[in-house]
């Protein structure tokens, strides 16, 4: 047990170090000089003042010390929670800007991931090898999982918000309400939350349903299932065993799909101007706010790492074989 977790933690630690190193290295080793890009946006008259500005930026970015020192400095400020000052939301710090956006993103992501995974698995298992259901679930599932996240968001925003006016089309809450803990504000928040959530949920749902359907078919064709059938076990029992085996790859799939769903969440937020991380990233790109972009990158990485670790724990709880194997290894 301890060995398993130690191994996993080591991988995640290595991932974090690699990610931070990428975050540090890309601005420094990419073709093109970000400092020059910044300067070229503000036309400086004579070469003398241009040089002064270059020096100023170099010292602000900490580029005037040896490269290894830069790397160490980067880590030390990172561990102090200092990710720099945002250009887009000057003079706020990157950490505080992101901190304000995170609740919206998590509020979309966590329910969308969990509910779509649960519902997709149930539905897929129900549909497998049942002609009438399968004939509708399969095509619908494929269409949904092939839909680009932003397009479904766009269609929902256009149909349900713009044309039918059932839901607000953009924002996290109405500008006319004061953010507080009153019932009307929460209702307003939910109203704005629903469409982005729905589009995230639907696309992910299609993928899970298809995955589960295929897994169940594999399981129903395996020897133990045939053996149970030959013994005259009721279909329900066979399916229950198949489900318990089929759900494990789906848990692994959850870890693999996290990056895709996070990306989907970012673009969905952009469609609905939802004030989460995705919206922030769009603004950062438009305003060439590199600190904010790099900070968002780190937050996404940390979030995905934590989620991966939770999935590992879930796998351990669900699969008795991993536990048995680990106990055997210890004995």
């Amino acid at each position: 047990m301890r060995r398993y977790f130690l191994r996993k933690l080591l991988i995640y630690l290595a991932t974090f170090v690699v990610a931070v190193t990428i975050d540090w290295a890309i601005p420094r080793f990419m073709p093109g000089d970000p400092v020059q890009t910044l300067i070229s946006r503000v036309p400086a008259g004579d070469p003398e003042s241009a040089r002064a500005i270059t020096e100023y930026y170099n010292s602000v970015f900490g580029l005037d010390v040896p490269i290894w020192q830069q790397y160490l400095n980067f880590w030390s400020s990172l561990l102090h929670g200092d990710l720099g000052i945002s250009v887009y939301a000057f003079p706020q710090s990157v950490t505080s800007v992101i901190w304000h956006a995170i609740p919206y993103t998590l509020g979309l992501l966590i329910p969308a991931i969990l509910i779509s995974w649960w519902a997709g698995n149930k539905f897929g298992a129900l549909a497998a090898r049942r002609k009438s259901l399968d004939n509708t679930v399969l095509p619908v599932g494929y269409v949904l999982s092939a839909t680009p996240y932003m397009w479904l968001g766009i269609l929902l925003a256009w149909g349900l918000a713009s044309e039918l006016q059932w839901f607000p089309i953009s924002g996290g809450y109405s500008l006319s309400v004061e953010p507080n803990l009153s019932l009307s504000f929460v209702w307003d928040l939910l109203n704005h939350w629903f469409l982005p959530f729905l589009s995230l949920f639907l696309v992910a749902f299609g993928g899970w349903a298809i995955g589960m359907r295929n897994m169940i078919i594999y399981e129903l064709e395996s020897d133990y299932a045939h053996y149970l059938e030959a013994l005259g076990a009721p279909q329900r029992l066979v399916r229950r065993y198949a489900f318990r085996n089929a759900v494990l790859p789906q848990v692994t799939g959850l870890a693999l799909q996290l990056g895709v769903i996070v990306a989907g969440c970012l673009v969905t937020e952009i469609v609905f101007s939802y004030p989460g991380l995705g919206h922030l990233i769009l603004e950062a790109i438009r305003n060439q706010d590199y600190f904010l972009l790099q900070g968002s990158f780190l937050f996404i990485i940390v979030g995905v790492l934590v989620a991966n670790f939770l999935v590992d724990i879930a796998y351990l709880v669900l699969d008795p074989r991993t536990r048995a194997g680990m106990q055997g290894g210890r004995a």
Binding site: T15, M150, G259, I281, L282, I285, R286, Q288, L293
Partner: protein, 302 residues
């Protein structure tokens, strides 16, 4: 079997009597009867045809301001015009071409890296496997989009090829893992042992003995990587980190959202690009399921 042998003029009864090692005829037999495969291939083929021929029908810059503002689809402008008077059909077919380009290139790169890493790790085993697997796992956990976000933001000039390279170099890990697992199980078979005993060099064993036995699997991996690359490219384009020149399907959607096509009800601006991506990716997925059923007798529906 015998008729086809007679057709090509091969008169060797001894050869015909041997069990045919070729998979061709059997594969075609099931492929032609698999509805899913046929549907998938026709959708993707139709889109590919449109991507190849389309740009010749509407030559010139697809972003040029040619017509009236926000006109609904008509005989002059098949898919209507944007609020700036750009021809949506022209943008669509040019974007479609870029989409196929990115998908094929990025999918190909990712498949190649995945194969090299997967084969090496699975065949060598031991320390090499440990190292490569750890590396793969590290890259696997890092979300592709997050890395591309900062890389693309710092690259001031981006083309379709650069985008494809970025996607290809970041989306291979799951393929490497899957190929490694397959190689692992094949390496334990007797025919690989025989090849090893006969003194065949490792590279030949991998490409002559192991890879052909999982060719269907490799092909399906490529298809999935292709579809994934198309979706990732659309996402990047939509955020505004796609190619800086020309047009793409993701960029069309980005512009439509940016210039309030939703509020104005200019649906012909944002429906075609999304529909195009969905058709390509969906077609590829359905093709994949069909191929799976063709290759795997257990999955064939009776």
């Amino acid at each position: 079997m015998t008729t086809s042998a007679r057709d090509v003029g091969v008169a060797e009864p001894e050869l015909a009597a041997l069990p045919a090692p070729r998979r061709g005829p059997e594969f075609l037999y099931f492929a032609r009867r698999n509805v899913k495969l046929l549907i998938g291939v026709s959708i993707v083929g139709l889109m590919l045809l449109l991507a190849i021929i389309g740009p010749f029908l509407v030559p010139g810059d697809p972003n040029a301001y040619v017509g009236p503002s926000a006109e609904a689809p008509s005989s002059a402008y098949w898919f209507g015009t944007t609020t700036f008077g750009q021809d949506v059909f022209a943008q669509f077919v040019h974007g479609l071409r870029n989409t196929f380009l990115v998908g094929a290139l990025a999918g190909g790169i990712a498949a190649a890296i995945g194969m090299v890493v997967g084969f090496t790790a699975g065949y060598r085993g031991g320390v090499v496997d440990e190292g490569l697997s750890a590396f793969t796992n590290v890259i696997l956990v890092i979300p592709t989009l997050a890395v591309m976000l900062i890389v693309a933001a710092y690259l001031t000039v981006r083309g379709v090829v650069v985008e494809a390279l970025l996607i290809g170099f970041t989306s291979w890990p799951w393929a490497a893992r899957a190929i490694r697992a397959q190689t692992f199980s094949l390496t334990a078979r007797e025919f690989v042992d025989v090849a090893r005993l006969s003194g065949m060099p490792s590279r030949r064993i991998i490409f002559r003995e192991i890879a052909p036995n999982m060719s269907s699997y490799l092909f399906m991996t490529f298809i999935l990587l292709f579809g994934g690359a198309v979706l990732i490219a659309a996402t990047l384009d939509f955020i505004g980190l796609g190619p800086t020149q020309g047009t793409s399907l993701g960029l069309m959607m980005n512009n439509a959202v940016l210039w309030s096509a939703l509020q104005l009800g200019v649906w012909w601006w944002f429906v075609p690009p999304g529909l195009g991506i969905m058709a390509i990716v969906g077609g590829l997925y359905i093709m994949n399921v069909g191929l799976d059923e063709v290759f795997n007798p257990k999955l064939r529906e009776t």
